[in-house]
């Protein structure tokens, strides 16, 4: 059993957690270049789409929402990683959360930023996206607040603001530490961002109070955000979309995919930044158990949804159901069940199989499975409308694939930049004062 970090001297901890901030390795540069190239390809694709029209995508009547909306829901779902884990674990005062919170909060902010791009990317006239905002104008224009898309706009704005603040607040004391040790432009950056933090007890009290309040509020917002995204679909009359279960279903799915993303990210950080002493088997074990719990919950909701549709036998819904489980989309559907339920159950349910490696594999499977789940929610319903003469299929074009790939590259890049500028484990939070009662 390796030495627990609590028994390592302060200096060593600080050194370990600040070391990644200095110097750029060859792999880092390589990864940045690759991510940049993929990101650029995505931008080119988007530019082409803006110039030539939405026809360059694979969209067609009646499948008016395709990859872009799938990605939107997927990334907003991932964003529930951070804040939920961080907030719930803070509220319940779980000590093992300490090295995990900042990485999780960073995932939230970046996933939100990426997810929020898609409502703009998917627009037929994307350059007019600002018309969705209520701003005074001389042309008698106003947005329609009854539309779930406006609820989306408000919810995501609130969540993004809240997440950035929630990421920033516990970063302040670390920034103050960094301002003493770094040189040149970094010192200015850290000093400005740390707002002159001195470490006085007034500051600590205010910070802790603010964090407690923020944890509760961000939790309330996070639950509402993905419910609102779910209601984009549930508020319609489309078959198998108009379901009351969608709100909780999506939130569960979001937490599920969020934890999976967190495990993958932490495993990568642990390997690359040599944080084996800080992100231990203990942490991965706990996260794996949470992932398993969410997998069971997800399966419960999926079961409930599909069983009620099948038993109810409504013709409009059955057309979609048949397409999903027996016809064109069946391979995706059953793969999804395998990846989201069977794999986690086996790899994480059997204690002997639950290791850091298997937890990472299970998480990667869940990420793919959850992406498929979003696809299976959106496309089969649209492809099988109530008036069957309009039924069709959907195949994404290179534009949609390029933009999808670019978002993953963007996530990697944002994360790499973040971990170079700020310690990915909260130094002050990680090491409680030596004489504090546990």
């Amino acid at each position: 059993m390796a030495t627990t970090p609590e028994l390592l001297p302060y200096g060593r901890i600080r050194e370990d957690l600040f070391r990644p901030l200095s110097g750029v390795s060859r792999n880092y540069v390589l990864a940045t270049v690759v991510a940049f190239v993929i990101g650029a390809a995505g931008l080119v694709a988007w530019g082409h789409q803006l110039r030539s029209g939405m026809g360059v995508t694979g969209l067609r009547r009646p499948v008016f929402w395709g990859f872009y909306l799938v990605n939107f829901v997927f990334w907003i779902g991932i964003s529930h990683a951070g804040t939920l884990i961080s907030a719930i674990l803070r509220l319940t005062d779980a000590a093992w959360r300490k090295p995990v919170t900042r990485a999780a909060e960073a995932i939230t902010v970046f996933a939100l930023m990426i997810g929020a791009m898609f409502p703009i990317i998917h627009l037929g006239r994307g350059w007019l996206f600002y018309w969705l905002f209520p701003y005074p104008n001389g042309r008698m224009l106003w947005p329609n607040f009854r539309s779930p898309l406006l609820w989306d706009v408000t919810a995501i704005t609130t969540y993004l603001t809240g997440s950035v603040i929630y990421l920033y607040l516990p970063l302040i004391p670390d920034l103050a530490q960094l301002a003493e040790h770094r040189t040149l432009w970094r010192r200015t950056l850290y000093r400005t961002l740390s707002l002159g933090w001195t470490g006085s007890d007034r500051e600590w009290h205010a910070l802790e109070r603010a964090m407690k309040l923020m944890a509760g509020m961000i939790l309330a917002v996070a639950v509402s955000v993905h419910t609102v995204v779910a209601w984009d679909f549930a508020m319609t009359v489309a078959p198998m979309w108009h379901s009351t279960i969608f709100g909780p279903y999506f939130v569960t799915g979001a937490i599920f995919s969020g934890i999976a993303a967190l495990i993958v990210v932490l495993a990568a950080l642990r390997k690359i930044l040599h944080l084996e002493f800080y992100l231990t088997r203990h942490h991965f074990n706990n996260l794996a158990k949470l992932l398993l719990l969410m997998s069971l919950l997800w399966f419960y909701f999926t079961m409930a949804e599909n069983l009620t549709v099948w038993y109810g036998n409504d013709p409009g819904e059955m057309a979609v159901f048949a397409a999903r489980t027996r016809a064109r989309y069946a391979p995706y559907f059953w793969t999804m069940v395998l990846l989201n339920f069977v794999v986690p159950l086996v790899l994480l349910g059997i204690r002997r199989l639950r290791t850091i490696r298997t937890a990472t594999i299970a998480s990667a499977c869940v990420l793919v499975g959850m992406w498929l789940e979003r696809y299976l929610i959106i496309v089969p319903t649209l492809a099988n409308p109530r008036l069957a003469s309009a039924s069709s299929t959907y195949t994404p074009s290179w534009v949609e694939l390029a933009i999808t790939a670019a978002t993953f590259a963007a996530m990697v890049m944002l994360y790499m930049v973040f971990s170079k500028l700020f310690p990915i484990i909260a130094v002050w939070e990680f090491k409680p004062h030596p004489l504090e009662e546990e």
Binding site: S52, G53, M54, G55, L59, R60, R61, P62, F64, W65, P119, H122, L123, G124, R125, G126, L128, F129, W131, L132, L141, W142, P143, N144, R146, S147, P148, L149, L150, V153, D232, M235, T236, V237, A238, L382, P385, R386, L387, S389, A390, S392
Partner: protein, 228 residues
């Protein structure tokens, strides 16, 4: 009393000739998709004729059903548009405001009749078709949703002409292109609020049905058919 425009289509008369489709194309400056885009399912037909086959050879029965925007009184497409590009006007029409549409596709996803069509590219017409545009109708830019308007330009023109000539608009004055062109005279158009109009009387008939009535959209296109 305000008008409430509605339409009846007699399915027992419809021959499926698609003259209404062609007339609509000509009247409303519908873009020509071309064979490639049409194969991708992107052809724009504000009115389309659905074919339903019943039975097997030699006892096959075919039903032709022209479907266009039903101008629902409780239209599901209207509340979901975030920019008010589609709303219900005072005469009961579901209006599409082309220059306000930003292309969220939400209205199209929420239409249970799948009657909304999107301009995937800037519209094009092969020579010399660009010469026959109707000056009363806008040419829609790419990125904008469109659908049947009950030939609102003809409604407006009729009302203007009547006002200029100092006479009221009588039943039968307003005829959308599809109604006008039907050789079997299967379609009627008029004011549902006027109990004496032909549309209102036909709507009371024992053969009157509505599409997807159970959804509560209150469509204003009434299909007359003996049996379902």
């Amino acid at each position: 009393m305000e008008r409430r425009w509605g339409m009846t289509i007699d399915l027992d008369r419809c021959t499926g000739c698609q003259a209404c489709v062609v007339a609509c194309h000509a009247e409303n400056n519908l873009p020509v998709s071309g064979p490639v885009e049409a194969a991708k399912g992107r052809a724009v037909h504000w009115i389309r004729v659905d074919r339903y086959y019943e039975g097997t050879f030699p006892d096959v029965k075919v039903k032709y059903m022209p479907v266009m925007c039903q101008h629902c009184d409780d239209a599901p497409c209207e509340p979901v548009c975030p920019v008010y590009a589609t709303y219900h006007n005072a005469e009961g029409l579901n209006v599409q405001v082309y220059n306000r549409c930003v292309g969220t596709f939400y209205c199209a996803n929420n239409c249970p009749y799948t009657v909304r069509y999107f301009n995937w590219f800037e519209p094009e017409w092969p020579e010399p078709l660009q010469l026959h545009h109707n000056p009363d109708v806008a040419v829609r830019p790419g990125g904008v949703m469109e659908k049947c308007t009950f030939c609102i330009q003809r409604i407006k023109r009729t009302k203007q002409d009547a006002a200029q000539e100092g006479r009221p608009v009588v039943d039968g004055d307003v005829q959308p292109a599809c109604v006008q062109s039907c050789p079997a005279e299967a379609m009627t158009f008029g004011d549902l609020n006027d109990p004496n109009s032909k549309v209102s009387r036909l709507a009371e008939s024992g053969r009157a049905t509505r599409l997807l009535e159970e959804l509560g959209t209150k469509p204003k296109v009434i299909y007359l058919q003996r049996g379902k």
